[in-house]
Symmetry: C2
Subunit: 456 residues, 2 copies
C-alpha cells in the first residue's frame, strides 16, 4: 500500500506531536501524518508519578486529541526504513509512505550498562516510555518490598520519592559523590539528599555497582567493594541513549554523542529532513558545546522551531541552544535550575561571581504554608551577564525558574535584574522588599563593585 503525505513525522511522543501540530498550524494546506508504534503515548515526565501519586498508567496518557484535533493524521505502525533520495518510508505494517518533508522524533531508549553483570535477571527493570511495560512494572511493585534504584538523576530520585510514598524500602545508589550532580552544585544536591534521607530513603553515594546477583530473579546488588544490598527489584536509571538506529541506517549524519546532527532550524544535512527531541543534537546556549541533555520541554521547543520552519526559514525562529532549564519536586520541595551551575561554569573556563540568598515564598512569613525560597545566580564577573541559576522552594519555584530562563535567554545582566519590576502578593510570592531573585542579583552586584580578591 502506498500513502502520500506532505509531512511525515516519525514518533508521537511530546516532540513528534508538537512538531506536527505546530507545522499544521503554520502550513494549514499541507497534510501531516504522525506514525508511532504505541496506540497511546505516556506523558514522559509524568512517568515516575505513575508509581505513586497517579496510581495507574492510564492517568498518564497524552490525549490523542492533541494530534487529531489539530488536523494531523495518526497512524499506529512502525517505520522500518527511510529512503532519503526517494523520499519514502516503509512501515512494518507494509505501508510505503511518500513524503515531501520528514521530521524524525524517535526519542531515546534507556541505557543498560554493557559492563554490568546480571542485567538480564528477572525483576531488573529500566524506565522506558512504553505504556505496556510501565503498566506491568506498576503491577509488579505490588509484590515488591525492597527496591534498589541505580542512578541518582531526576528519574531515579523522583522514582525513589514516589515509591517511598507507596511504602517500599528504597535504596538509591549513585556513583558520584552527590545525586542530581548534572543539574545542581554540591550544596543543592545535599539539600535534596537530606530530604530523601528524612523520608527514610537509604542513599549510597559515591558507590559503584559491580553486579546484579541472583539465580533466576535478582536477589541483591553488589557494589565494587564487594558489599551486597538485598533487593527484590532493581531499577536501572542510568540514562537514556538517543534512538537513532532508523536514521543511521538511512545515512543521516550522527554526531559524536550519538545524536542526529541538526542546524539552527533543526534540519539535518538533508534540508527536507528534520530531527527533534531526544534523538536530535543538543548544544549549549552559552558555549555551543554539544551536549547530551534530554528534556521534554527542550524537545517541545525544538519541535516548535522545526514545525515553523518546515517550508520556509525565518530568522526569528531559530533554536538558540539548550538552556538546560528544568525543575523537579523532591519530598514536596522544588529544585530547579537553568543554564550553567557554578561547577560547570568553572570547568568551562568562565570567570564568575556567584550570589545566593534565602528568603520565603510568601509574605509576611507568619502566613500559613510558607516555604523557604533559595536563589543562587552564576554571573560573568566582567560583564555582569547571568549565566545560570538555581532555585529551590515551594511550588511557585517551578515558574520562578522560568522567570530566570527568560532573563538568561535575553542575556540580561544583574544590573537589569536590579531594576526589574515584579508582581508580588502576600499569598503568592516573596515580598517586594526581599524578592530573593533580586536580592541575589544585589549580592552579585556588590561583589562586582567591591574589587577585593574573592573566590566567587
Amino acid at each position: 500500500m502506498v500513502k502520500k503525505v506532505d509531512v511525515l513525522v516519525i514518533g508521537g511522543s511530546a516532540a513528534g506531536i508538537v512538531a506536527a501540530t505546530t507545522g499544521k498550524a503554520f502550513y494549514a494546506d499541507k497534510s501531516f501524518l504522525v506514525v508511532r508504534k504505541e496506540k497511546e503515548a505516556v506523558v514522559p515526565c509524568g512517568i515516575p508519578y505513575i508509581f505513586g501519586t497517579l496510581k495507574t498508567v492510564e492517568k498518564n496518557i497524552i490525549p490523542e486529541g492533541h494530534i487529531t484535533d489539530a488536523g494531523v493524521e495518526l497512524l499506529c505502525d512502525e517505520v522500518t526504513s527511510i529512503d532519503k533520495s526517494e523520499k519514502r518510508a516503509e512501515t512494518a505494517g507494509g505501508i510505503s509512505i511518500a513524503f515531501d518533508k520528514l521530521v524524525i522524533a524517535t526519542g531515546s531508549l534507556p541505557k543498560v550498562p554493557g559492563w554490568l553483570k546480571g542485567t538480564g535477571l528477572k525483576n531488573v527493570f529500566t524506565i522506558p516510555k512504553d505504556k505496556a511495560y510501565l503498566a506491568a512494572l506498576n503491577e509488579h511493585f505490588d509484590q515488591s518490598e525492597k527496591v534498589v534504584i541505580i542512578g541518582g538523576g531526576f528519574i531515579g530520585v523522583e522514582l525513589a520519592d514516589e515509591l517511598q510514598k507507596r511504602g517500599k524500602a528504597i535504596t538509591l545508589i549513585e556513583v558520584m559523590p552527590h545525586i542530581l550532580n548534572a543539574a545542581f552544585d554540591e550544596e543543592i544536591g545535599k539539600r535534596a539528599e537530606e530530604i530523601l534521607t528524612e523520608k527514610g530513603i537509604t542513599l549510597r553515594l559515591g558507590c559503584k555497582v559491580q553486579a546484579l546477583i541472583g539465580d533466576e530473579k535478582v536477589k541483591a546488588v553488589q557494589l565494587s567493594n564487594g558489599e551486597e544490598i538485598e533487593a527484590d527489584t532493581v531499577i536501572l536509571s542510568t540514562g537514556y541513549a538517543p534512538n537513532v538506529a532508523l536514521a543511521e541506517k538511512a545515512g543521516i549524519k550522527i554526531n559524536e554523542l550519538g545524536s542526529i546532527r541538526v542546524d539552527e532550524y533543526m534540519r539535518t544535512e538533508d534540508k527536507n529532513i528534520f530531527a527533534v527531541g531526544d534523538c536530535a543534537e543538543k548544544f549549549s546556549f552559552y558555549t555551543r558545546i554539544v551536549k547530551g541533555l534530554m528534556l521534554a520541554s527542550t524537545a517541545c521547543s525544538e519541535a516548535r522551531i522545526a514545525g515553523m520552519n518546515l517550508y520556509k526559514l525565518s530568522m526569528l525562529r531559530t533554536f538558540s541552544g539548550t538552556m538546560s532549564i528544568f525543575s523537579t519536586a523532591i519530598g514536596g520541595t522544588t529544585f530547579a535550575s537553568v543554564g550553567v551551575t557554578e561547577q560547570m561554569a568553572i570547568e568551562r573556563g568562565f570567570d564568575i561571581i556567584t550570589g545566593a540568598v534565602e528568603g520565603v515564598d510568601k509574605h509576611p512569613k507568619s502566613l500559613p504554608n510558607v516555604s523557604k525560597q533559595f536563589v543562587k545566580l552564576i554571573v560573568s564577573r566582567e560583564s555582569g551577564l547571568i549565566l545560570g541559576g538555581t532555585v529551590t522552594g515551594g511550588a511557585s519555584a517551578g515558574e520562578l525558574i522560568n522567570v530566570l530562563g527568560v532573563i538568561i535567554s535575553n542575556k540580561m545582566t544583574v544590573h537589569h535584574v536590579l531594576s526589574m519590576q515584579v508582581a508580588t502578593h502576600p499569598l503568592l510570592t516573596s515580598s517586594p522588599t526581599s524578592y530573593p531573585l533580586i536580592k541575589a542579583a544585589e549580592a552579585v552586584a556588590k561583589k562586582i563593585r567591591d574589587p577585593k580578591p574573592v573566590l566567587h
Copy 2:
C-alpha cells in the same frame, strides 16, 4: 538638637526601607537615616490578610532588622518641614536634620470622597497603612456582622474575601459595571465576581453610593436610586492619594495627578532630592502616559533605582516606566496582570490582536490539586510585540505573571515566545506541549499570519 546625615529618607514603609538599604549597599561610606512616624510599619499588601488569615496586625509587620541590620539608622519621629536650599529637615520631636541627599517616601493616604455624606459617622473606616488604626479596626470586626465595602479594587475585593472567611455578611459596592476594572478586562472581572458570589458575598455592581446613613453610628448605605443597604460597618476603599503635603510645602514640583514629579532616576527637579513609591510620579512603560498606579512592588523597584543613583547616575539603572504588574488571590484563585489590558490598549489607540488559551497548571490533569490556568496576551498587530497579558490560575500563576513581565520588559514578540524554553514538571507546571503562555502566543501568531479581517 541638630543631626547631620549624608542621606535622609522620609518614610519607612516598603519604598523608604528599600531606598535606604539599597543606597547603603551601594554607598557604604555614607550615613543613612530613615525617619518615620510609626515605631513599626505594616506590610502594605498584607493588610487585608490581617482581618482573616493572619488574625492580628502583629503578624503583618516589616521586621525593623530590615533597616538596622543593613547599617541604616531608624528614627521614630515626624518630619514637619524641608528646607531645600539649606538642605535641612525639621521634625516634630525638635530635631533639625542636615542632609546631603534626601529621599521622600511619604506614601499615600486613603481617599475619603468629599461629596459623600456621612463619612464622619462612627463605624465608617478607611484602610490606612497605620498599625494602631488597623488593630482597632480588627477588634471592631469582632462586634460587627454586616459589613458594606465601597470600592471593588484590589483592597476592597481582598478585604471582602478575608472578612467572609471570618463569617461576616459582606456587600461589595462598585460604581463601574465590573470589579477590578483598572486591572482586568471584563471577562476576567466576571470570573472574579463569580468566585466572590459563590462564596456568599453580595455584589452590587454599577451602583453609585449617595450617602452613609445613621445617627451617631452608621446604619445603612444609600445608593443613588434611594435604596438602602443595612450596615453596622462601612469600609471606604475608594483609592489612595499621594501623600505630598510635606513636599508641596517645601516647593517641590507636583504633577497634575498630585504626585511628586520625578525623572528616569527618580530625582525631583532638585537633583539632590529623590521621591519614590506611592508619593512619586508614575508613567506608563509603553506610552509614557502619567498614571496613578500604586503598588508596593513598583515602589520597591523605584526605590532600588533611587538608592543606586543617589551619588552617581548609571545609564543601566533607570526606571523604564511602570509596567503595572500585579497579582492577587480571590477565593484561592490567582488573578494577575501585566502591561495594558485589551480595553486599555484600544483606548490608547494600539492596533492589537489578542490570544487567549485555557489549560491546566499541572500535568497530566489527572494529578491531584490541578487548577485551570488561563493566559491572555494583548499584542501589537504589526510588530507582534507583546503589550500586556493576564493570567489566572493556581498559586503558580503568581510567578508566571513575572515570566510575562520579563518578556514585556525585554520587548519580546510572540515569535520569540514561540521558541522560548521553559522548565516544566508534572507537579509544578503545565505540560511542555501545551504551556498556556506559549499556546496563547501561537494563537496570536496564527491571527497575524491569517490576514482576514478580524476584530482582534
